[in-house]
Subunit: 412 residues, 2 copies
């Protein structure tokens, strides 16, 4: 069953937006047994959209179209769909209800333009979009399917995961795909590949492995196709067990886990509380931890001490140590961790002080220099790292490294 | 002069890699006056590649092709090019020299497969690639141009910037493109469109407008084509001035600005310092502010008071007020803002307390309920909001709304 992805939007053709929708959608389709034959981006222009539809149907059975469903004059997908399927618009009651609900909740006035958002071509079934004002549109004609979806990433993603892929799977008896993700931290892609190359060579031929790197994390995806889901999962899990014995210290989670959700579970199991004292990460660790729903059950708070006076006054760091050793030093980060743990009355704490860049580096302490401390009820572990020269990635890597240090302590 | 970008590679069609090559290339072409009509991704399959070339030339004058030039068996672009242009391969001397140099420098042995990398179709001119083993390939036939480039991002980018775009500009006297972005906060896409519809209707026909929404922000892009860059920019700026008089309170920045970079500039101009006290945003505001290089010149720190005891002990919030009014209340958020401003000795402060969800809501205070306070040297402004029911977006919207409240105070 060949699928083609069509993205509509001038912003993609002038390079203003990276097409992450397409890669997410391609990934989800692949994982659900559908093969993506092409990804095409066209402009907000009726003729271009129409020829994309026409050509797409010559090659593929399913066209998934995103973008151009907004309320403004440059959104032309609705009009193109009416022309392509030779039909008029109708107002969709359910979609209008959703729009009214969204606007009511926010106390926004409902305008004519909003009401128009509930209009869909007569020949389609509307696909519900509970979190946005534009419904999806599902067309079937001559055994082929076209689904138009909003271009707003979170609306598109929810619609695809909850409605479109389940409905496509129901219609087409696809081979089943089973996969699991293994989350690692501590080695880059090529070093990790080197470490596990014997295991990789020995994988059964029906298993495929993919390396999916992102700053600070390499995700390994093990995938197989077949009919017996239970058997496939058992085969994958057997390989995971083998891998676990090779790199136990690098694996921190599986599948939907995140470093911060794993930390949360470990703290909950211990009935323990966490606090943080952050300098160069500027609140990012605290943000990661509190992005997990229910994190108030184990996280008390953070003191972001960007300024040295905050380190001294709110965290009780000795001024002399800042003068003698610098704010980015073992002495200072140790006091930050131990004192925030006491001050906020928690069992564990994390402290970070570093030079995120691009400025502030010296020969002795180049950009990327970072001290991390984890204080526990028993002791304080302090480590020194030199990350790279990119501010954003340094902040991300420092935060993940700190959370992983805490994870090791929580496990020990 | 219509350009089409063709990316070749299975890794893009299974969603393993995000196509950042295409957006970079589209951006560069746009900024140099070339209009990208389509971006197409096809698989490592000869027939798919050939039909992409064939169809591309029906529509466009220039095809820029990347990927599939590597040394392994799944790299088929060379073969497809020979078939498409009906010619054989030849070895390119300059390219072979480059390959020998690269291998010599690294002390790697030169194998048959590496030597084969210097082969190009007879009908093309090789395009030098000093940092990689695969040359580019420039074809001209019947007034149309096809350039094949390596898929490795830094090789492709260097080739495009140094050779391909300059050569294309030399060949074609292009129309120039000028565009600017206007960043707004405070209204959703459709309400904003409603607000500015008269202005939009009155835009000169040679100007195009696009709405680019993301959580909490709607970006407006005004674009025009022509020959006189100065004149075009003046025309765009005139429209921006008109828009400014219609929605002065909604526009917070332009082009590469972010809400946090604008806040930084305003604080620097006033020589003022900022602190934050965050509950539901959990450090996210602090993270945004410190993601700007040099933010230590105006940001002192944050107290993330996720737990009520931290609000009481570190921020001096009256326990009685938490009991009587709840942690998510005007009384509590006001004290958080005023006290963190005093404690951290700053001129301005932001405080937030809210229910990010998914749990914790009540009939009286549903999920999304958020109080935001901004304390200034003169007074404290407190506002109440009800955002949606998605935790991640609530955190993002609360942070942007708070930063915007601070911005208004800094401007007043």
């Amino acid at each position: 069953m060949k699928v083609e992805i069509i993205n509509i939007g001038d912003e993609l053709l002038i390079g203003q937006v990276v097409n992450t929708n397409a890669s997410w959608l391609a990934d989800q389709l692949t994982l659900n047994g559908f093969s993506v034959g092409r990804i095409l981006t066209v402009s907000d222009n009726i003729d271009d959209i129409l020829s994309a539809f026409r050509e797409g149907f010559l090659r593929s059975d399913i066209l998934l179209v995103s973008g151009g469903l907004g309320p403004t004059s440059d959104d032309l997908t609705r009009e193109a769909l009416c022309r392509f399927f030779s039909c008029n618009m109708r107002s969709d009651e359910d979609s209008l209800e959703t729009i009214k609900k969204i606007f009511g909740r926010r106390n926004w006035p409902l305008t004519a333009i909003n009401i128009k958002q509930a209009e869909v071509p007569e020949k389609c079934k509307a696909v519900s979009n509970p979190i946005g004002t534009s419904p999806g549109m599902w067309f079937e004609e001559n055994g082929k399917i076209l689904v138009a979806m909003p271009g707003v990433p979170f609306e598109m993603k929810q619609m695809v995961s909850e409605i479109i892929i389940p409905r496509l799977k129901e219609k087409f008896g696809q081979e089943k795909i089973v996969y699991r993700n293994i989350l690692t931290h501590g080695l880059g892609e090529s070093s990790l590949a080197e470490r596990i190359k014997d295991w990789e060579t020995d994988l059964p031929p029906q298993i495929t492995l993919a390396y999916l790197p992102q700053p600070g994390i390499v995700r390994l995806r093990i995938m197989t196709k077949g009919n017996d889901e239970e058997e496939m999962l058992a085969m994958i899990n057997k390989q995971i067990e083998k891998l676990k014995s090779i790199i136990p210290e690098l694996i921190f989670g599986y599948d939907q886990d995140t470093m911060e959700s794993i930390i949360g579970e470990l703290l909950l199991n211990k009935n323990a509380y966490l606090s943080t004292a952050e300098s160069c990460t500027g609140g990012y660790i605290s943000h990661l931890i509190t992005s997990v729903p229910g994190s108030s059950r184990y996280f008390k708070g953070s003191i972001v001490s960007y300024d040295n006076n905050v380190k001294i006054q709110q965290l009780g760091v000795r001024q002399d140590d800042i003068i003698n050793y610098g704010a980015v030093s073992k002495q200072v980060v140790t006091q930050m961790a131990e004192n925030v743990r006491k001050e906020l009355n928690t069992d564990y704490s994390i402290a970070i002080s570093g030079i995120a860049g691009p400025d502030g580096g010296t020969t002795e302490k180049p950009v990327g220099t970072t001290w991390i401390a984890v204080a526990t009820p028993e002791n304080t572990i302090v480590k020194h790292f030199i990350f790279g020269d990119n501010r954003e990635r340094n902040i991300r890597r420092a935060a993940l490294t700190a959370l992983n240090m805490l994870r090791m302590e929580l496990l020990s």
